[in-house]
C-alpha cells in the first residue's frame, strides 16, 4: 500500500472541503464571475482558442473550411430534424393529455408510415454522406507535398524533423514554456496576469511556409500522442513504431496552436503545438539561421568541458526536460524519485546514472533520453551532481555518455 498516494487523496478531499466552505456563499453566478475569464482579463488568442468560442476555429486551410461547411450543413439538418420531431412530440404532449380530456385512440401500427420513416432517414443519411466523402478523400491525399516534416510525440514534448524540401535536415524539440508549467502547478495564472497563450507557449515553434503543401509524418517515441492543429483541420495520432501522415496548406501567415489530443501520461495537458506560418522569404531566412545555428551547435563529443560551463548548460537541459517531473528543486513528487540526495546521482560509478538517462527506468515511468546529445546528457548529469545538496564537484564528460550508448540498461 502506498501511503503517499493515500495521503495525497485525503489531502485532496480536505482541499475540496476547504474550498467548498470558503466559497459556499459564493456558489452560482458570483462564483462564475470569480472563476471566469472576466476576472483574468483574457483575450482571444489569434490562431488559438477564443474566449468562450462557440464554433470551430476560423479556417486557414481549404480542408478546415470544408469541415466548417460540413459542420454547418450537418447542424442545420440536425436542428431541422430536432425541431420537427420535438414539435410533433410537444404538440402531442400539449393536446393529447388526459387533463384536457383527450381520449386515447386505438391504432398501434401502420406499415406505410413505418416504411416511410425508415426510408426518409436513409435518404437524409445518404445526402449527408456524399459531401462528407468528398472532403474525406481530399483530406487523405498526402501526395505532392512541397515540404515533409516528421512530428515525433515524446513524453511530453514534440520533436520536429524536416525530412524533405527546403530546410531539409533541420531538427529540434518543442517544449511548453517552463514558466507556464510552473504557473499551472502554482494554482494557475493570477488574475490580471494571465497570458493569452497560457499552456500554448513553446520554446521552439514549428515554422512552415505559407501556401505550400506541408506533409506531416507522425510517429512517437513512447506512447500514442496526437498531433492536432484545429485551424488547419488536422488531427493525426502519433503512434510509436508506426508512421502515419496528414497534410495542410496554410493560406495565411500567423501563429496557430494545437495541443496533444491522445492521453499520453501525466503531462498530457502540457505538450502544446505551435505552428508559425511565414512568408516564403521569411521561411528561407529562417532556414538559413537554423543552418548556421546547427553548425555552431554541433558539439564535438570528445571535447573536454569545464564544470562551470557544463553545469550552466545542464541547468537549461534540466529545466526543459527534467524539471516537470523531478521538480526544479530536485525533490521529485509522489512516485517521482528525488534527485537531491539520490544515491544513484551521488554514486562514484557514473555509469549507473548514465544508463538510466539513456535507457529509462521504472518500466518507462522515467523515459529514455537517448535522443538528447552526448553533451546535453553529460551536462545534465553534471548539473544534478552539483546542485541542491549534491555538491560532489564531479564532472561527467560527453565521452563517458558516448561510451555507455548501446549498452543494455
Amino acid at each position: 500500500m502506498n501511503l503517499t498516494n493515500l495521503l495525497n487523496l485525503s489531502e485532496t478531499m480536505g482541499k475540496v472541503t476547504r474550498l467548498g466552505i470558503r466559497h459556499a456563499g459564493a456558489l452560482g453566478i458570483s462564483a462564475l464571475a470569480w472563476a471566469g475569464t472576466a476576472a483574468y482579463a483574457v483575450n482571444d488568442l489569434a490562431g488559438g482558442p477564443g474566449v468562450n468560442q462557440l464554433n470551430l476555429h476560423p479556417a486557414v486551410t481549404k480542408i478546415a473550411e470544408e469541415q466548417h461547411w460540413l459542420h454547418w450543413f450537418m447542424m442545420i439538418v440536425c436542428v431541422v430534424i430536432f425541431v420537427a420531431v420535438f414539435g410533433v412530440m410537444f404538440y402531442s404532449i400539449l393536446k393529447h393529455r388526459k387533463s384536457v380530456g383527450h381520449k386515447a385512440a386505438n391504432f398501434h401500427e401502420s406499415t406505410l408510415v413505418e416504411i416511410a420513416w425508415t426510408i426518409v432517414p436513409f435518404v437524409i443519411v445518404i445526402a449527408m454522406a456524399l459531401p462528407a466523402t468528398k472532403v474525406l478523400v481530399a483530406s487523405k491525399d498526402t501526395t505532392g507535398a512541397d515540404l515533409t516534416i516528421k512530428a515525433t510525440g515524446i513524453q511530453w514534448k514534440w520533436g520536429y524533423d524536416y525530412i524533405k524540401g527546403e530546410g531539409e535536415g533541420i531538427g529540434f524539440v518543442s517544449t511548453l514554456d517552463t514558466a507556464h508549467r510552473q504557473m499551472s502547478n502554482n494554482g494557475g495564472p493570477k488574475a490580471g496576469e494571465a497570458p493569452d497563450n497560457y499552456l500554448l507557449k513553446v520554446d521552439n515553434p514549428l515554422v512552415v511556409p505559407v501556401n505550400k503543401k506541408v506533409r506531416i509524418i507522425t510517429t512517437a517515441n513512447d506512447v500514442i500522442h496526437a498531433f492536432a492543429v484545429p485551424s488547419f483541420g488536422i488531427k493525426q495520432d502519433a503512434i510509436p513504431g508506426f508512421v502515419r501522415d496528414t497534410w495542410f496548406r496554410a493560406e495565411k501567415t500567423g501563429d496557430f496552436y494545437g495541443q496533444c489530443q491522445e492521453l499520453c501520461g501525466k503531462e498530457h495537458a502540457y505538450m502544446p503545438i505551435h505552428v508559425k506560418v511565414v512568408s516564403a522569404q521569411d521561411y528561407t531566412a529562417w532556414v538559413a539561421v537554423k543552418a548556421k545555428e546547427a553548425a555552431a551547435k554541433a558539439d564535438d563529443p570528445s571535447k573536454v568541458w569545464t564544470l562551470v560551463d557544463l553545469k550552466a548548460r545542464g541547468e537549461k537541459v534540466y529545466a526543459a526536460n527534467c524539471a516537470a517531473c523531478h521538480q526544479p528543486n530536485g525533490k521529485g513528487a509522489g512516485p517521482i524519485k528525488p534527485l537531491d540526495g539520490s544515491a544513484i546521482v551521488l554514486d562514484t560509478d557514473h555509469a549507473k546514472q548514465i544508463r538510466i538517462l539513456l535507457n529509462g527506468a521504472a518500466g518507462g515511468a522515467m523515459p529514455s533520453w537517448k535522443a538528447l546529445s552526448d553533451t546535453d546528457l553529460a551536462a545534465v548529469a553534471s548539473y544534478t551532481k552539483n546542485s541542491w545538496s549534491n555538491q560532489t564537484g564531479v564532472i561527467v564528460q560527453p565521452a563517458e555518455i558516448q561510451a555507455q550508448r548501446g549498452k543494455p540498461g
Binding site: N5, T12, L27, A31, L32, A35, G36, A38, D44, P49, G50, V51, N52, N55, L56, Q67, H71, M74, S92, H96, R97, K98, H102, A104, H108, E109, S110, E114, F122, V125, A132, L136, V137, S139, K140, S184, N185, G187, G188, D196, Y198, V223, I224, A228, P230, G233, K235, I239, P240, G241, F242, R244, Q259, Q261, E262, L263, H268, A333, P335, A365
Partner: protein, 544 residues
C-alpha cells in the same frame, strides 16, 4: 384479483422454509428479486463512488491551474470514473432491473440458474474492491483512460494488473448474467407468452444478453494480451518488440462499440414500457421496435473503427466506418418515431416515470444527433478526443441510460417496495437532474468545438467560463442524486409512504400499464408464478 393468490393453500408460503433471514438471505440469495435488489444497491453505491470521482475532476477543472489534484491523480480519477460508471454502475444496474422484472414480465417463477445468479452478483464485490482500492497501490490507480490504450497501459504500475483482474471478474459476471437471462427468456415464458408478445424490456435484454456474450470475451482477450505484454514478455501491442498498438484499439472497440449498445438497449426497453402505460395506448409498431433493436445490435459490430478515425486508417476504411455509423441512425430513428407515435393521440398523464421517459427521449436525441455529426469523419477529425465527444457520450449514457433507469425505478418501485414514492419528490428529482445535467454537459459541446482536449488537468484561459459553468452544474447534478437516495429510495426501502395498489398505473377507466408484473400484488411476494399462469390472448393478463 391477484395471480399469486391463486394458490388456495396459503400455507404453502408459510412452510416454504427457504426464505432465509438476516445476512444469509443476501449472501446465499437465490431469489431473483433479492438478487435484483442487491444488484441495484451495488450499482447505486458505485454510481455514488464514480460520481465523487467525477466531482473531484470538476472541482479541479473549476478554474485554470492545478489547485486540488496533481496531473497523475487527475488521470487516475478520469480513468476510474469511466471504468466504475461503465462496469460498476450502468451495466449491473440493468442486470438488477432484468433480475427483478424479467421473471415477473414473462410469468416465470425465477431466473433459470438461481445459484449462478448468486455467483454472478457476488463476483462483482471482489471486482469492485480490487478496482476501488487500487488507489492505494504504488503509483496509484489506473491512469491510462477507461480505454486502456497500449502502450500507455504497459507503463502503468500494479493497479493496471488489479484493474485487468477486476475486469475479468466483471466480464465473467456479465457473461453468466447473460446466459441466465437468455435461458430464462427462451425457456421459462408462461404458456401463451410467445416471443412476439413479450414485453419490450425482455426483448431488448434478450438482444443485449447476446451482445454481452459476443463481446465480453473479446475484451477479456484484449486485456489478457495487455497483461502478458506487461509481465510475460509478449509484444502483442508493444512496438518495441514489433507489436501493434493500434491493434489494441481495434480489439477494444470491437468490444467497446457493442458495449455502448449494451448500455442503451435495456434503456430503450424501459422507455418502451413506460411510454405506452402513461399514454394509455399500446406501443406503436411493436414488431418494428423488435426488428430495429435487432438491427442496431447487428450493426453495432461493424462500426467500431469510428472511434479511431484519427489513427490514420486508409481512406476506404474510413469511408466504410463512416457509412455504417451513419446507417445506425436509421433504426435508432425508427425507435424515436415509434415512441412519439405511441404518444400521438394518446391520453397522457405525466407522473414521474413518464417525465423521465419523455426527458430521456428529448435529451437522448440531442446525444444521438451529435453522434450523427461525429460520424462524419472530416468533422470527427476536428472533434475526436475533445470535450464534444465527452458531451456526446454523457448525453447518451447519463441522459440516456441513467435517466431511463430513474424512470424504471419510479415505474416499478411500487411493485418492489409496496409503497408509492412521493410524486412531489419524484418531480423535484426529475427537474433538478434534467436542468443540472444540461448545465453540466451542454457547454462541453462548445469547449469541444473550440478544441479543448478531453482528459486535460489544466486548460488555456479561454476555456475558463464554460468549465466553471460545467463544474457548478456537475455538483448540482450530484446533489440531486443524493436527494434521490435519501428522500425517495430510503423511505421506500423502509416502507414509508402510501401503500401501492396492485397496479398503481391503471386509471379508473381501466387504462394504463399492462403486463404480468401488474398481475401480482404490491409488494411482489417472495415467490411469484410458482406454477405457470394461464394468460389471455394478449399475454398481458392472468386469467386463471
Amino acid at each position: 384479483m391477484s395471480a399469486v393468490l391463486d394458490h388456495p393453500d396459503h400455507a404453502h408460503d408459510a412452510h416454504d422454509h427457504h426464505a432465509p433471514t438476516g445476512w444469509r438471505r443476501w449472501v446465499f440469495a437465490t431469489n431473483h428479486k433479492d438478487i435484483g435488489t442487491l444488484y441495484l444497491l451495488f450499482s447505486f453505491t458505485m454510481l455514488m463512488f464514480g460520481g465523487v470521482l467525477a466531482l473531484l475532476l470538476r472541482a479541479e477543472l473549476f478554474q485554470p491551474g492545478l489547485q486540488l489534484v496533481n496531473p497523475e491523480l487527475f488521470n487516475q480519477l478520469t480513468t476510474m470514473h469511466g471504468l466504475i460508471m461503465v462496469f460498476g454502475a450502468i451495466m449491473p444496474a440493468f442486470v438488477g432491473f432484468a433480475n427483478w422484472m424479467i421473471p415477473l414480465q414473462i410469468g416465470a417463477s425465477d431466473m433459470a440458474f438461481a445459484r449462478m445468479n448468486n455467483f454472478s452478483f457476488w463476483l462483482l464485490i471482489p471486482a469492485a474492491l480490487m478496482l476501488g482500492t487500487s488507489f492505494l497501490l504504488p503509483g496509484g490507480a489506473m491512469a491510462g483512460g477507461w480505454t486502456m490504450y497500449a502502450p500507455l497501459s504497459l507503463q502503468l504500475g500494479p493497479s493496471m494488473d488489479a484493474g485487468i483482474f477486476a475486469m475479468h471478474l466483471m466480464g465473467a459476471s456479465s457473461i453468466m448474467g447473460s446466459i441466465n437471462i437468455i435461458v430464462t427468456i427462451l425457456n421459462m415464458r408462461a404458456p401463451g407468452m410467445t416471443l412476439m408478445k413479450m414485453p419490450m424490456f425482455c426483448w431488448t435484454w434478450l438482444i443485449t444478453a447476446y451482445l454481452l456474450i459476443a463481446v465480453m470475451p473479446v475484451l477479456a482477450g484484449a486485456i489478457t494480451m495487455t497483461l502478458t505484454d506487461r509481465h510475460f514478455g509478449t509484444t502483442f501491442f508493444n512496438p518495441a518488440g514489433g507489436g501493434d498498438p493500434v491493434m489494441f484499439q481495434h480489439i477494444f472497440w470491437f468490444f467497446g462499440h457493442p458495449e455502448v449498445y449494451i448500455m442503451i438497449l435495456p434503456a430503450f426497453g424501459i422507455v418502451s414500457q413506460i411510454i405506452p402505460a402513461f399514454s394509455r395506448k399500446r406501443l406503436f409498431g411493436y414488431a418494428s421496435m423488435v426488428y430495429a433493436t435487432g438491427a442496431i445490435a447487428i450493426m453495432s459490430f461493424v462500426v467500431w473503427a469510428h472511434h479511431m478515425f484519427t489513427t490514420g486508417m486508409p481512406v476506404t476504411g474510413q469511408l466504410f466506418f463512416m457509412y455504417s455509423t451513419m446507417l445506425i441512425a436509421v433504426p435508432t430513428g425508427v425507435k424515436i418515431f415509434n415512441w412519439i407515435a405511441t404518444m400521438w393521440k394518446g391520453s397522457m398523464t405525466f407522473e414521474t416515470p413518464m417525465l423521465w421517459a419523455v426527458g430521456f427521449i428529448f435529451v437522448f436525441v440531442i446525444g444521438g444527433l451529435t453522434g450523427v455529426i461525429l460520424s462524419v469523419a472530416p468533422i470527427d477529425i476536428q472533434l475526436q478526443d475533445t470535450y464534444y465527444v465527452v458531451a456526446h457520450f454523457h448525453y447518451v449514457l447519463v441522459a440516456g441510460s441513467l435517466f431511463a433507469m430513474f424512470g424504471g425505478y419510479y415505474y416499478w418501485s411500487p411493485k418492489w417496495t409496496g409503497v408509492m414514492y412521493s410524486e412531489t419528490r419524484g418531480k423535484i428529482h426529475f427537474w433538478w437532474s434534467l436542468i443540472s445535467f444540461n448545465v453540466t454537459f451542454f457547454p462541453m459541446h462548445f469547449l469541444g468545438l473550440a478544441g479543448m482536449p478531453r482528459r486535460y488537468a489544466d486548460y488555456p484561459m479561454q476555456f475558463a467560463d464554460f468549465n466553471a459553468l460545467a463544474s457548478v452544474g456537475a455538483f448540482l447534478f450530484g446533489f440531486a442524486q443524493v436527494y434521490f437516495f435519501f428522500l425517495v429510495v430510503l423511505p421506500a426501502m423502509r416502507g414509508k409512504g402510501v401503500p401501492s395498489k396492485q397496479n398503481p398505473w391503471m386509471d379508473e377507466g381501466g387504462k394504463g400499464a399492462e403486463g404480468l408484473e401488474w398481475e401480482v400484488p404490491s409488494p411482489a411476494p417472495f415467490h411469484t408464478f410458482e406454477t405457470p399462469p394461464k394468460l389471455d390472448a394478449t399475454a398481458t393478463r392472468v386469467i386463471g
